[in-house]
Symmetry: C3
Subunit: 419 residues, 3 copies
């Protein structure tokens, strides 16, 4: 039996590591999605932000974020703090532990978790694109990944008060996606819209992204990565019941994304008379975000429906945000915020252990904490470093200002870079 | 021993799920390949087609396609029909089943199969690119993935008459690739060539694709995904013999693609005096398609040769199609049709259980069914909705007409989009 | 217990195959990275080189490279030669073998190794970009992958004299990365700089790459692939200790890349006052190369530091190479050569079994062998075929000259292709 425990531990560890690698790949997905949806003059900068924020997330979560989120809290609201990682499980711990014994490597768990915090942070970069100062953004990333995200992560996945209240969030519609959207929302409010986005007479000007194939690639990358995101969140695959559960999560994750694509495409067709690719992409992502809170208990048919509703909602949310003059160049707040809230509520459709009250408590708690904490940090950054580039710099594009490198020097050349 | 059965079931399920995720990734590969090989004015539209067809495939195969293909047939030719998925295997079923017991999750099997039907459908979108109406294409996708593909899938993998006749097709040179090519061929015949492709005096005009890096990326994605496509089709990895078999499949799949690249590159060099990248890419794909019917029994040397012959054939096939004025912008019919037929025949080179007669029966049956059924569906669509855009729309490009979004608004701008 | 051995063998084989697939994916990463960092007029050609070199590596390593590297050497310096692959392990060999029994498929091992040689060769293509003749390059690839690489691989991983001397190189900072860089260095010295790179008055002209999103994508692909590269090099995952080890390798690999990004970004900011995206990308890669020699024994904090030092070194190396007028368009020699040497030395920071002397012996032996052997081969090619395109061809771009296909025909058109 010891040999079986060893092998089982190995399989679960391998499954978590591969799942984590898939989630890491989502960083590329966000980079491509955001890089494709902004104008060429701001593309290098957003690519720089994306790779840098991923790196910062990895370092800060290693230094203290992971321990805040999964350490011993002072109570169920206030987490404890400690630094770096301890040693991994010994053979003795696994063998002697009975049913509560660790069944996978602690370091594999860290790897799986660290890529999640990077995902949350990636959501922010898209919403504040094309006008935020690079280094202020990176400073925010430090605080978000070291502290803001881990605190609410502790509340749910670390065993804090939301977990105790019965709030259910399988893989992070709230803890990851709503949290990212709330931080983005605070930033966007302080930052204001891009110049020229909203006209004086109330008109809303479309600012097309420079590279649709790249945005599409980004969406496919995210879709693929989500099998690790949701599939890995079962945290165990090594017996029949768990293997079936992981399979169900894969099927439902895929089904919800498919439902999101179709629903968003049809909704956009009805509203705009066009097969709007960006809405189809956002529909896929909204479907994925929506199923993330509960990809296990729905039937695949219901999962398709949950995703489809997410796909419809995201089209209305993007249109509505523009009406409110909240400028989110890639639709990140709509996809991850509205999609996340819908997903948390949709848990009640299939999971008998859920309650609408607990789900709403989670929505309000996560949003309030992340939004307010982010607003404070963004405000301090605004006062100290400034968060918005100058009018002249915005016109010139962030690439030359911040990075000194054009994204496509030969394709746009001197004739404009989308100015 | 029960614990070992549980673990073995978990490993096989995990292996199928990861394989399926790799195959899902092929959807991104087709999108990038086709998006790179068309002109910029039709790029957004083909990206939209690719993500939408994947979503449609997932939904239709869930609704009935899977059950047609793997359900109880009325007889060995006519499949039965039922809807949605049943429950997964119970622990009891696995334990009590003896040698015939299920050894992986049913839902994992569904996931692995659903991404295959999407692959077949992806083949079609490339061949009809740059002139087909978006919504007619999507309507065809509904019928293809719900019915046409599953019927012939049932004939082989569902235990129908082709399986009984000894037709061998390990991972789908016929069931997936030839089927996709046959559906595409029917569409292309009804649709006609792109304007300007074939001149009045018999000249053939090259219409270069807009983005070679993207096409190359697509090919690499497909190559990677093929390890899941072929590797997962062994369906079991959990003992020494099966693990060795999966390893052989990986090695041979890679070898055949490599052989295809080299052979196509040299063939193109001899014919055109240039190292033609698109031929190298199609050579890789033809090699992959060719080895798909039998990646297990050849030695790696033979697999390289099977792929290399595929690579030579595809160059001649592409040239030949143009001589016949059959316009296939991405070479999909040559790659998947000719490559698929060659692969089915090549089974006889290494598998002693194969017979040329059974292989040819498979080729004829699959081609005839899919071609005729598709021709009927395309014809109905042509009569009801129309399948070809207007001359004016073709000139303007499908992106603005169907999608309202340019793929690269800043790179081509008003000076042409490849008109 | 036999059933456990079977299952364990299956898990280790699956782990190696998936790791190998991740490393194969790095071929796409190099293609995208190099394709993004050259000018558009040379993009098709470098894509062709990348897919062709991968194919050549697969074939040559199958024919004899693998057997040179892992066969029976004549002595500890001179390897033996045999051809193609033998049969895989039988059940009997696994069961009867005791502790020395094979614990994974031989073919899976071949698959994992063959993608490594492709990686080494990919390093070369970037450094010689934009001026080397395509077919001479491919001829070099034949010799490099069939012979030059396998010989030094035998010295370490095949049990040759470097292994016996206590030289440590976990996953190939030396055997793969320094070897690739040494071959590239020899080629670059014979080839000379691109026209216009270094002015008559000592000025260094930046030649910006055409497509930053593609270069960024390539870096993310490499980062992802590196989990297979390093993670798979543990070669076993099927018990608690090994699973923990693989998890540690994943965590440290990721941490080093993150450290490299941040350090390179800050270094570039201090030196150039800009957040230089290409330096951030090269920082990630240098961090990855640096940790490759020893990703197991450092703590994650130390791994971050090893990567960060790699990130600093690469910025200085790239600047220094330009001062020496050694023209390496993508920084490959700096990343893989300097990063590799640093990584081999850094082994001594955490691994008590290492010695600085043995590490330096490895550096010198690998560099000397690959550099001299490559210099001879490049020289023969220069004399026989020529290795550099004509001045006129270099001006026109290699795409039209060698491939007959423009990478982006609609974006650059007749107005220049970066001339």
């Amino acid at each position: 039996m010891e040999a079986i425990k060893e092998l089982s531990y190995a399989l679960d560890t391998f499954y978590l590591l591969i799942s984590g690698a898939f989630v890491m790949w989502m960083a590329a997905g966000f980079a491509m999605l955001e890089g494709g949806l902004v104008r060429s003059k701001n593309t290098t900068e957003i690519l720089t932000k994306n790779i840098a924020l991923y790196a910062i997330a990895c370092v800060m979560y290693l230094i203290c974020g992971y321990n805040i989120m999964y350490g011993d809290g002072i109570n169920s609201i206030i987490p404890g703090i400690s630094f770096f990682l301890g040693t991994d499980n010994t053979v003795e711990m696994v063998m002697a532990g009975g049913d509560d014994a660790p069944h996978y490597s602690k370091l594999a768990d860290f790897f799986f978790q660290v890529v999640f915090v990077a995902t949350a942070m990636s959501i922010v970069s898209g919403a504040v694109a094309e006008r935020m100062k690079l280094w202020s953004f990176l400073a925010f990333a430090v605080v978000m990944t070291a502290f803001i995200y881990p605190v609410q992560g502790f509340w749910k996945w670390g065993g804090g008060f939301l977990d105790q209240a019965g709030f259910l969030d399988f893989a992070g519609s709230g803890v990851v996606h709503l949290a990212g959207a709330a931080a983005a929302f605070a930033g966007v409010l302080l930052l204001g819209a891009r110049r020229g986005k909203y006209g004086k007479n109330g008109e809303i000007n479309a600012i097309p992204g420079a590279n649709m194939p790249m945005a599409t690639l980004g969406t496919f990358i995210l879709w693929l990565g989500w099998f690790g995101f949701n599939g890995g969140s079962e945290l165990k695959i090594s017996d029949i019941g768990e293997a079936n559960a992981v399979a169900m999560v894969f099927v439902n994750t895929n089904a919800a994304a498919a439902g999101g694509v179709i629903a968003a495409l049809i909704t956009a067709r009805l509203m705009f008379s066009k097969a709007d690719l960006t809405m189809a992409l956002n529909g896929a992502l909204a479907g994925l975000v929506a199923i993330t809170a509960e990809p296990l208990t729905p039937t695949p048919g219901l999962a398709t429906l949950v995703g489809a509703i997410g796909g419809v909602l995201v089209v209305f949310a993007i249109v509505g945000m523009d009406k409110l003059k909240i400028d989110d160049p890639v639709g990140a707040i709509s996809v991850h915020g509205i999609g996340g809230i819908w997903g948390l509520i949709a848990v009640t459709l299939s999971n008998p252990e859920s309650s609408l009250g607990a789900q709403l408590l989670g929505v309000v708690s996560i949003f309030a904490w992340v939004f307010i904490a982010s607003l404070i940090v963004w405000s301090i950054l605004k006062a100290v470093l400034g968060i918005r580039v100058s009018e002249e710099e915005e016109y010139e594009g962030l690439d030359l200002v911040d990075c000194g490198i054009e994204a496509y020097p030969e394709f746009t050349g001197s004739h404009g870079s989308g100015k």
